[in-house]
C-alpha cells in the first residue's frame, strides 16, 4: 500500500511539472500583455510594470524563478489583474467553490443514482425510458440556459429565495442544482450500466433464492458493485465541480474560483493562471487517487494478485 501511494505521489509530481511547463509557455504564447487596457499606457509605465513583476527577465529565468518561489517562499506570485497574492485569491475563493461543488455533487448523486438504479431495475419499461429522458434533459440544456430559467421562474416567485448572491444557506440551492445537473445525467447513465452489469451476475440469483426481498437485493447486494463505474467517473468530475464554473458563478453571483480561471486568461494574468492550473492539477491528481482508493474499498477483490493457475 505504501509503495502504491509513493508511486502515485511521484506520478502526481510529474503531472504537475508537465502541467506547469505547458501552461507557462501557452500563457506566454497569448497575444497581449498583463497591463493591456482600454486607455493606453506610456512606454515608461510599461517598462516600470514589467520590471516590477520581473517580466523583463529572459524567459528561461522567469520559467525557473516561479517554481523556485513556490518551493522556497511558498509564494505563487502576485496577480497582475487583482493586485493581491495569488494564494490569497485562491484561499478566499476556493472554499466557496468547494461548498458549491459538494452540494452539486450531492444533487448529482441524489438525483443521478436513484434514477440510474430505477431505470436499471425496470429495464425497457416506460419508467426506464422516462428516467433516461430526464437524464438527457440534464445533458441537453446548457447551464447558461438553466440558470436564468431557474432565476426567473423559481427564485423570483419564492420569497425566501434570492435571484443571486451568496451568504446565507438558501443561496447555495439554485447554483449547485444547475452545476450538478449535468453530472447527475452522466451518473444516471453510468449507474444504470453498472447495475445492469451486476444484475446479470449469478450471486444476485443466489440472493433471490435465499428469499431476499427485491428491494433489499438491490440495496444490499447490487448497489455496491453497481456503483463502481460511477465512482471511476466521479474522480475527475468532482475535481471539475469544486474548481468552480465560470457560467454558474457569474449567473448566480457566487464568489468562487471558476471565474478567476477565465479572468486570469483574458487579463493575461500569468501568475494567477499558473497558480490556478497547478491547484486544479493537484485536485485532479488527488481526486483520481481517492477514486481508486474508494474503488479498492468498495470492491475487496481489487488486489494486485496475478492470476494463479
Amino acid at each position: 500500500m505504501l509503495r502504491f501511494l509513493t508511486d502515485r505521489i511521484l506520478q502526481g509530481a510529474l503531472v504537475l511539472f508537465a502541467l506547469y511547463t505547458i501552461t507557462f509557455f501557452l500563457a506566454k504564447a497569448m497575444p497581449g500583455e498583463p497591463f493591456t487596457s482600454e486607455k493606453n499606457i506610456s512606454a515608461e509605465t510599461k517598462a516600470n510594470i514589467r520590471k516590477l513583476y520581473g517580466l523583463d527577465k529572459p524567459i528561461w529565468e522567469q520559467y525557473i524563478t516561479y517554481p523556485k518561489n513556490i518551493i522556497t517562499k511558498g509564494s505563487f506570485g502576485i496577480s497582475t489583474s487583482k493586485g493581491r497574492p495569488v494564494i490569497d485569491i485562491i484561499a478566499q475563493s476556493f472554499p466557496n467553490s468547494l461548498i458549491l461543488g459538494l452540494c452539486a455533487l450531492a444533487f448529482a448523486i441524489g438525483i443521478g443514482v436513484p434514477i440510474g438504479v430505477l431505470s436499471a431495475v425496470r429495464k425497457n419499461s416506460w419508467i426506464d425510458w422516462a428516467c433516461m429522458a430526464v437524464a438527457m434533459v440534464g445533458i441537453c440544456i446548457p447551464s447558461f440556459t438553466i440558470g436564468p430559467l431557474l432565476q426567473i421562474y423559481v427564485a423570483a416567485h419564492i420569497p425566501g429565495l434570492k435571484v443571486a448572491g451568496w451568504g446565507n444557506l438558501e443561496d447555495i440551492l439554485l447554483p449547485s442544482f444547475t452545476l450538478g445537473l449535468v453530472s447527475a445525467a452522466y451518473l444516471a447513465r453510468l449507474t444504470r450500466g453498472g447495475i445492469l452489469e451486476v444484475l446479470s451476475q449469478d450471486f444476485v440469483r443466489t440472493a433471490h433464492a435465499k428469499g431476499v426481498s427485491p428491494s433489499k437485493v438491490i440495496i444490499k447486494h447490487t448497489l455496491r458493485g453497481g456503483l463502481l463505474p460511477a465512482v471511476a467517473y466521479l474522480g475527475p468530475a468532482f475535481a471539475a465541480l469544486i474548481s468552480g464554473s465560470f457560467i454558474v458563478e457569474t449567473i448566480f453571483q457566487v464568489p468562487g474560483m471558476g471565474q478567476h480561471f477565465v479572468n486570469a486568461a483574458t487579463t493575461r494574468d500569468e501568475f494567477l493562471l499558473l497558480g490556478l492550473s497547478l491547484f486544479f492539477g493537484f485536485l485532479i491528481v488527488v481526486m483520481n487517487l481517492l477514486a481508486d482508493l474508494l474503488t479498492g474499498l468498495l470492491d475487496p477483490r481489487v488486489r494486485h494478485t496475478r492470476k494463479t493457475d
Binding site: 500500500m1 505504501l2 502504491f4 451476475q201 449469478d202 450471486f203 440469483r205 443466489t206 440472493a207 433471490h208 433464492a209 435465499k210 428469499g211 431476499v212 426481498s213 444490499k220 447486494h221 455496491r224 458493485g225 482508493l293 479498492g296 474499498l297 468498495l298 470492491d299 475487496p300 477483490r301 481489487v302 488486489r303 494486485h304 494478485t305 496475478r306 494463479t308 493457475d309
Partner: protein
C-alpha cells in the same frame, strides 16, 4: 406421502428466434429424506425445472405454460411473490454450480450466511451468527470463527461450495435443490462435498433434488434417478435399475460413451451409435434405437490402440528440464505483504513425436501454467525448453514467430477462445496470412473448407459468427484454427472439461483421428483422470507445481506409486453400485 409432486410441467422460452420448449410436460416426485438425481445434458431442461419451482426465471422470456408443482400440499406455480419468498430459503433452499460467482464478492462470508436466518426468523443478530458459524463447522470449514470474517475471493472453490451449503441449510429447509453443485470442482473435493451432503441429509432428514450431467456422481449419491433429454423425461426409476438395465437408447448411449478407467476402446462409442432422432412436422422429436447398436459396440472394442508402442526414445520432440514459474500475488490493499507462489517448481518432461503425454492434477497444481510456459505465453523464472533441439526459453518475440507456427494450443472455454466479431472464415484465414500459408486467396479458401470438413463442420458455416454455434462446434473451430498453421505439437488445455459427455466423446475421437492422420504430438491437460487415461500414452500427475508420478498410462492406473495418485483414483465416482467391474 411425497414431499414434492410435479405434474405435466411445461416451461417455454419465447425469444425472438421462436419458442424454445425448455421443459415439455414432465412429471416426477420426491419423498421426504430421499435424494433424487436428475441427469441430462446441457439444454435438457434439468436446471430450468429447479428454477421454475422457485420462480427464479425472468418472466418476459420464460413462461410456465401448464402443469403443477405442489410442495407439502401447497401449489407453487402461481403463488404470489410475497408468499413464494417465504418458502425460498426457508422451506426450499437452492445451491448453484459455479462457486466462484455465486457468492457476493463485496460482503463478508458471515453476513451472507446469516442473511437467510435474519430474513425468515426474528432472531437476534449474534444468535444468528453463532448458528451460522456452527453450521459452517458442520459442513467442514476449519476454524470457522476467524475465517467467517474474510471475503469470498479468499476462499478456494471447494470451501466456497461448503459456504453455499451452509447458507442453504442454516434455516433447516425440507428440500434442497442442488443444481450441478460439484461440476466445477476437482474430483477429490467433489467426493468430500458429496459425503457432506449425504451426511447432512441423514441427520437433518432433508430431501435433495440433485441435478447433474455426470452419471458417476448420480450413481454414488442418488436413491432414484430421472433422465431428461430435450425437455422430456426419457426414463426414471431406481438407480440400480437405470444403471444395470437401461431401457431407453439415449440412456444406453450416455452410459457407453463415458470413458472409464477400464475402457480399452480406441474410439469411444457416441450417443449417435445408439439413438436416432427424427424431427416431426410439428417440431416434436421422435427417438428410436439404432438397429445395429450392439454390432457397432463389438466392432469398436476390437480395434487396437493406434500409437506404436513407445519404447524407442529416438525422436524426442519436446524436452523440458527443471522448468520453474513463480507468481507474485500482491499483498492486499491495506498492507498485507505480497507472497511468492511457486506455480511450476523444477518440472522435467519429454514427449516423443506422435505420442500424447497426459498431464493430470487438481486445480491449482500448475498444469495449465506449465502448458502456457512451454508455449512462452507465460514467462518462466528458470529451466530450459528444448523443442526439436532448439532452446526456446531465451528467444525474442520475432525469433519465436517461426516456432509459433509449429506449436499450437486449444483452450478450455469454447465461448471465450474465439473472437466474437470475426466470421469463421476470417478466424481461419488470418493465421494463414500471418504465416504466409497458401499462395492466393482461392487456394487458402479451399484449405479452409477442407479444414472444416476435417473437423466435422460443413462449408456453409464460413460466414457465420461464433455466437451462432454450440459449445462443441466452437471447439471444433478452435481445433481447425490450430490446424490452419499445420503445427506438429498441440497443447490441449482442458479442452473437453466444459462439455457434455456426449460431445466430449466426439471431440476426443476427433483429436485421436487427427493425431493419427497428421502424426501430431499432444500435451493433454485435464483434471479428469479417466479422460486423460483414455487419450494418453504416458501420464504425469502433478500437485503444487511438482511431478508426483510419471509413467505409462496403464502402469499409473494399475499400480500407482505415489499415495496422492491412489487418493485421486479412489475419489473417482464408480459407474457401478457394487464396486465390481461394469459390463462395458
Amino acid at each position: 406421502m411425497s414431499l414434492l409432486k410435479i405434474k405435466n410441467l411445461k416451461t417455454y422460452f419465447h425469444t425472438r428466434a421462436g419458442t424454445n420448449r425448455a421443459v415439455d410436460d414432465i412429471s416426477f416426485s420426491i419423498n421426504k429424506g430421499e435424494i433424487v438425481g436428475v441427469v441430462g445434458e446441457s439444454g435438457s431442461g434439468k436446471s430450468v425445472t429447479c428454477h421454475t419451482m422457485l420462480g427464479l426465471l425472468p418472466q418476459p422470456p420464460a413462461k410456465v405454460e401448464g402443469g403443477s408443482v405442489t410442495f407439502d400440499g401447497e401449489e407453487l406455480i402461481n403463488l404470489p411473490h410475497s408468499l413464494l419468498r417465504q418458502i425460498r430459503g426457508k422451506r426450499i433452499s437452492m445451491i448453484f454450480q459455479d462457486p466462484m460467482s455465486c457468492l457476493n464478492p463485496y460482503l463478508k462470508i458471515l453476513d451472507q450466511v446469516t442473511e437467510p436466518i435474519l430474513i425468515h426468523e426474528n432472531v437476534s443478530r449474534n444468535k444468528a451468527e453463532t448458528r451460522a458459524i456452527e453450521m459452517m463447522k458442520k459442513v467442514g470449514i476449519r476454524d470457522a470463527e476467524s475465517r467467517a470474517h474474510s471475503y469470498p475471493h479468499e476462499f478456494s472453490g471447494g470451501m466456497r461450495q461448503r459456504v453455499m451449503i451452509a447458507m442453504a441449510l442454516v434455516t433447516k429447509p425440507d428440500l434442497l435443490l442442488a443444481d450441478e453443485p460439484t461440476t466445477a470442482l476437482d474430483v477429490t473435493v467433489q467426493a468430500r462435498i458429496l459425503k457432506i451432503l449425504s451426511d447432512l441429509k441423514d441427520d437433518l432428514g432433508i430431501a435433495v433434488l440433485f441435478v447433474t450431467h455426470d452419471l458417476g456422481v448420480v450413481a454414488d449419491i442418488a436413491d432414484r434417478v430421472v433422465v431428461m433429454y430435450r425437455g422430456k423425461i426419457v426414463e426414471q426409476g431406481k438407480t440400480r435399475d437405470i444403471f444395470e438395465k437401461p431401457s431407453h437408447p439415449y440412456v444406453k448411449g450416455l452410459l457407453a460413451c463415458r470413458p472409464t478407467l477400464e475402457t480399452q476402446y480406441q474410439i469411444l462409442p457416441t450417443v449417435e451409435d445408439f439413438l436416432q432422432t427424427q424431427v416431426e412436422k410439428d417440431g416434436s422429436i421422435m427417438l428410436s434405437e439404432c438397429p445395429d447398436a450392439n454390432k457397432r459396440l463389438a466392432e469398436l472394442k476390437s480395434e487396437t490402440k493406434y500409437n506404436n508402442p513407445s519404447g524407442d526414445t529416438s525422436n524426442v520432440l519436446l524436452q523440458v528440464k527443471k522448468l520453474t514459474v513463480h507468481f507474485q500475488t500482491g499483498g492486499n490493499f491495506l498492507g498485507k505483504p505480497p507472497k511468492i507462489v511457486k506455480a511450476v517448481d523444477g518440472v522435467d518432461l519429454q514427449i516423443q513425436s506422435g505420442q500424447t503425454l497426459g498431464l493430470v492434477g487438481e486445480s491449482g497444481c500448475g498444469k495449465t501454467t506449465l502448458g502456457r510456459a512451454i508455449l512462452k505465453l507465460q514467462n518462466t523464472k528458470s529451466g530450459s525448453i528444448l523443442y526439436d533441439g532448439n532452446e526456446l526459453s531465451n528467444l525474442s518475440q520475432a525469433d519465436m514467430l517461426h516456432f509459433r507456427k509449429r506449436m499450437q494450443i486449444i483452450f478450455q472455454d469454447p465461448y471465450a477462445s474465439l473472437n466474437p466479431r470475426q466470421t469463421i472464415e476470417q478466424t481461419l484465414v488470418e493465421p494463414m496470412l500471418v504465416h504466409r500459408i497458401g499462395s492466393n486467396h482461392s487456394e487458402r479458401k479451399d484449405r479452409i473448407v477442407s479444414l472444416l470438413e476435417e473437423v466435422g463442420l460443413g462449408a456453409e458455416f464460413l460466414l457465420r459468427y461464433p455466437h451462432e454455434f454450440s459449445g462443441g462446434q466452437r471447439q471444433r473451430i478452435s481445433v481447425a484454427r490450430a490446424l490452419a498453421v499445420e503445427p506438429e505439437f498441440i497443447v490441449c488445455d482442458e479442452c473437453v472439461s466444459a462439455m457434455d459427455v456426449s460431445i466430449q466423446a466426439q471431440v476426443l475421437n476427433l483429436l485421436r483421428e487427427l493425431q493419427q492422420k497428421r502424426n501430431l504430438t499432444y500435451l493433454f491437460i485435464s483434471h479428469d483422470l479417466s479422460v486423460v487415461k483414455f487419450m494418453s500414452d504416458d501420464m504425469m500427475v502433478m500437485k503444487n507445481g511438482e511431478v508426483m508420478e510419471n509413467g505409462k498410462a496403464e502402469d499409473v492406473y494399475k499400480n500407482p506409486q505415489s499415495e496422492y495418485t491412489r487418493e485421486l483414483l479412489e475419489a473417482i465416482p464408480k459407474a457401478t453400485l457394487s464396486g465390481e467391474n461394469s459390463s462395458f
